[in-house]
């Protein structure tokens, strides 16, 4: 398995290459085998005819000139000699079935070869014919008991076969792989689309996040993915709605409580009750705001961020907190007014609650509006920096419990700022305290 490349395309192409190579090798083998068999038949026929004519010609000549003639008739794969005696006396006639069938084939073409006697044996290879692979010695006895001896060689060049196989395979494989690479790209593109869709999975949007197209398997996968998206969304929506409904339904009894508190004679008690009600209301509101997330359908408008910070500063000052703007400038950014106000309010409120005081500054840096909120608190340990953005998370510190809230302030602020294409970062200042930096595109 390790040998295979990781990607589908790589595996597919490797497989394709291997199978084309094997197939090609096989087919070339088969072709050669058939060609050889065909050639053998033709060769045998020609050999028989040639042997017959050699025999006839030599038999007609006077013995003195026979060797000369035999030499003249030699050529190609045949080497012909004439001898008065048996060239290989005492041999065992026809040793293998191979030669037996050859003899039979030769005789079926030219029966006169066997008139006075015929023997076919294997000849021992001669040094000068090192490349020859097979030797055949055909001895024909003439009517006067002399012999015509024919040595046949068959040469095979083992290299040409392999080279042509390699060349044609390469050409073919390159062609096929070119086409296959194109096709597989098409195939894997629909898969990459699916991967992108899974990465971008956003539960706040309905409908079908992935186009249900492509090859049937990919389409089935897309449909399954969309279905899963729907189910996950329904699950989340159901839970969101349940929580929202509870938060919502709590508001009617809270309203009644508020109205009833009007009848209480004790002014201090009324004030305390009102404070409790307001706290519950704030918790419900922040929970609902968190649950609504990006569903806020507020219009995007140019907002004077300076006036926003002014309001936050004066409201928190009126509530008795130490808030001041160290540097204010008029910066306008496009965004959702109330959402941005909520985000900046949450961050500043955190600063005054956990960091004793807040110092705000607003600047324009390039294409960004940068809001810095410094506090004098203990800061946030590096290990908690990720966690503080999680919903309902609070740094485990009993002191923090007394601050109220449900642990959604940073979560809500962060998601609002992100939905504006901005960034929120927290860093501990070198001189102590936490620095919260918000940057928003103008």
């Amino acid at each position: 398995m390790k040998l295979l490349p990781a990607s589908i395309a790589g595996r597919f192409l490797t497989l394709l290459f291997a199978s084309i190579f094997i197939l090609h090798l096989g087919s070339i083998g088969l072709y050669h085998w058939g060609l050889e068999a065909e050639l053998d038949v033709t060769n045998e026929k020609r050999l028989a005819e040639r042997l017959a004519s050699v025999k006839r010609a030599i038999a007609r000549e006077t013995p003195a000139r026979r060797e000369e003639l035999a030499h003249a008739l030699s050529g190609g794969p045949l080497e012909i000699h004439w001898s008065e005696n048996d060239p290989a006396p005492g041999r065992t006639e026809i040793t293998t079935t191979d030669f037996a069938s050859l003899k039979q084939k030769l005789l079926s073409v030219a029966p006169e070869l066997a008139e006075n006697g015929l023997s076919i044996t294997a000849a021992s290879p001669l040094p000068e014919h090192a490349s020859a692979t097979r030797f055949l010695l055909v001895s024909m006895r003439l009517h006067d008991a002399t012999w015509v001896n024919v040595t046949a060689t068959r040469k095979i060049d083992p290299q040409t076969g392999f080279q042509s196989v390699a060349l044609s395979t390469t050409v073919m494989v390159l062609g096929v792989i070119g086409v296959a690479a194109f096709l597989i790209r098409q195939l894997t593109r629909s898969l990459s689309t699916l991967v992108d869709a899974a990465n971008r999975l956003d539960l706040s949007t309905g409908g079908t996040p992935v186009e249900e197209a492509g090859p049937s398997e990919v389409r089935a996968l897309s449909i399954a993915f969309n279905d899963m998206h729907r189910r996950v969304k329904r699950l989340v929506d159901d839970r969101t709605q349940t929580l929202a409904a509870i938060s919502h339904d709590l508001k009617t009894p809270l309203t009644r409580l508020r109205l009833r508190s009007e009848d209480v004679a004790d002014a201090d008690l009324v004030r305390a009750m009102t404070a409790d009600i307001v706290e519950m209301e704030t918790m419900l509101d922040s929970t609902l705001a968190f649950l609504r997330g990006d569903q806020i359908d507020e219009d995007i408008k140019p907002i004077d961020l300076g006036s926003l910070l002014d309001t936050i500063t004066s409201d928190l000052t009126d509530l008795g907190y130490d808030v001041a703007q160290v540097r204010a400038s008029s910066v306008v950014a496009r965004g959702r007014h109330l959402a941005l106000k909520r985000a900046l309010w949450n961050l500043t409120e955190n600063a005054v609650k956990y960091g004793r005081r807040a110092r705000l500054s607003l600047d324009k840096r390039g294409a960004l509006a940068v809001i810095v909120i410094d506090d004098d608190g203990p800061g946030i340990p590096d290990s908690e920096k990720e966690a503080v953005f999680r919903p309902f998370y609070r740094i485990d510190d009993s002191r923090n419990r007394e601050m109220g809230g449900v642990g959604l302030g940073l979560t809500v602020a962060s998601s609002i700022i992100q939905s504006h294409g901005g960034q929120l970062s927290l860093e501990n200042r070198s001189g102590g305290g936490l620095r919260t930096t918000v940057s928003l595109p103008l």
Binding site: A244, H248, K251, T252, L254, T255, R256, L257, R258, L259, R260, E262, A267, V270, T274, I277, E281, D285, L288, A289, R292, Q295, I296, D297, E298, K301, P302, I303, D304, S307, L308, D310, T311, S314, D315, D318, V332, H337, K341
Partner: protein, 263 residues
């Protein structure tokens, strides 16, 4: 404005006292309260009656239609969540035939968004859990606006004041400057500005302003009127201080200089 239909101007015997009787309304306004929660209906009705209103309560759309057609109504308080029918639809339905002021009761922020975002014709909204003072303030503000423009000649889509290019949207409670940029106001500053634009070119005493503001929302108005005015001024300066929109009238109070029109 005339005293009879401007409850904010009526004298309050004990400013700041924890009392239901924040305003005396000489002419009894008839309010139709529509809510499906019986106890809430009862509590709100009781509160409004102690504040000098005549209140009729109904709990459903058919009852609302019947009551509305059988007696004169000055203002409707309409819960957005009613059994069987959406308050938004009902509001639209009433608007087709009548200009009666309508205040919506919402429980969710996104319901408030819909009241604000859709052209359903509501005059204002109050989010549950509302404080009784806030409800009273909204009622008074809407009735006051009605008194300024009794026939409601304003176009149906109009819902704000315009002055020197600035727009104060009373439904969104949002201020936009002449460049179309949203300028954020605190609740106190909004209330103050609303008091000014409702009675422009009129000298308003600190007591009057305090009254109006306190009638609206209870929180965030502890600072003196002078502080609030200076904060508001800073936000609505058109660049030069000579051209201040809010003028100090020495020894008396403040006056809102620009002419104001319905927008």
């Amino acid at each position: 404005m005339n005293q009879a239909i401007s409850p904010g101007n009526s004298d309050n015997p004990m400013p700041g006292a924890p009392s239901d009787r924040l305003v005396q309304v000489p002419a009894q306004h008839h309010i139709l309260l529509v809510d499906d929660d019986a106890e809430l209906r009862q509590l709100v009705a009781k509160f409004l009656r102690t504040n000098g209103f005549r209140v009729t309560t109904v709990r459903s759309a058919p009852e609302l239609r019947h009551a509305f057609s059988s007696m004169p109504i000055d203002l409707i308080i309409l819960d957005i969540m009613l059994p069987g029918v959406s308050g938004l639809e009902l509001c639209r339905e009433i608007r087709k035939t009548s200009v009666v002021p309508i205040i919506m009761l919402t429980a969710k922020a996104d319901e408030a968004d819909r009241v604000v975002g859709l052209e359903i014709g509501a005059d204002d909204y109050v989010t549950k859990p509302f404080s009784p003072r806030e409800l009273l303030a909204r009622i008074n503000a809407v009735l006051r606006r009605m008194a300024i423009d009794p026939g409601l000649r304003r176009p149906a889509a109009a819902r704000g004041y315009r002055f020197e290019g600035w727009i104060l949207d009373t439904l969104k409670r949002e201020l936009t400057n002449p460049d179309g940029i949203v300028v954020d106001l605190s609740t106190g500053e909004y209330d103050l500005l609303l008091a000014f634009v409702e009675q422009p070119q009129k000298v308003l005493s600190r007591e009057q302003l305090l009254d109006t503001a306190r009638n609206r929302v209870a929180t965030g108005f502890d600072r003196s009127i002078d502080v609030q005015v200076s904060r508001l001024r800073r936000k609505i300066t058109a660049g030069d201080d000579d051209h201040a929109m809010v003028k100090t009238v020495r020894g008396v109070g403040y006056m809102f200089v620009p002419t104001v029109a319905w927008s």
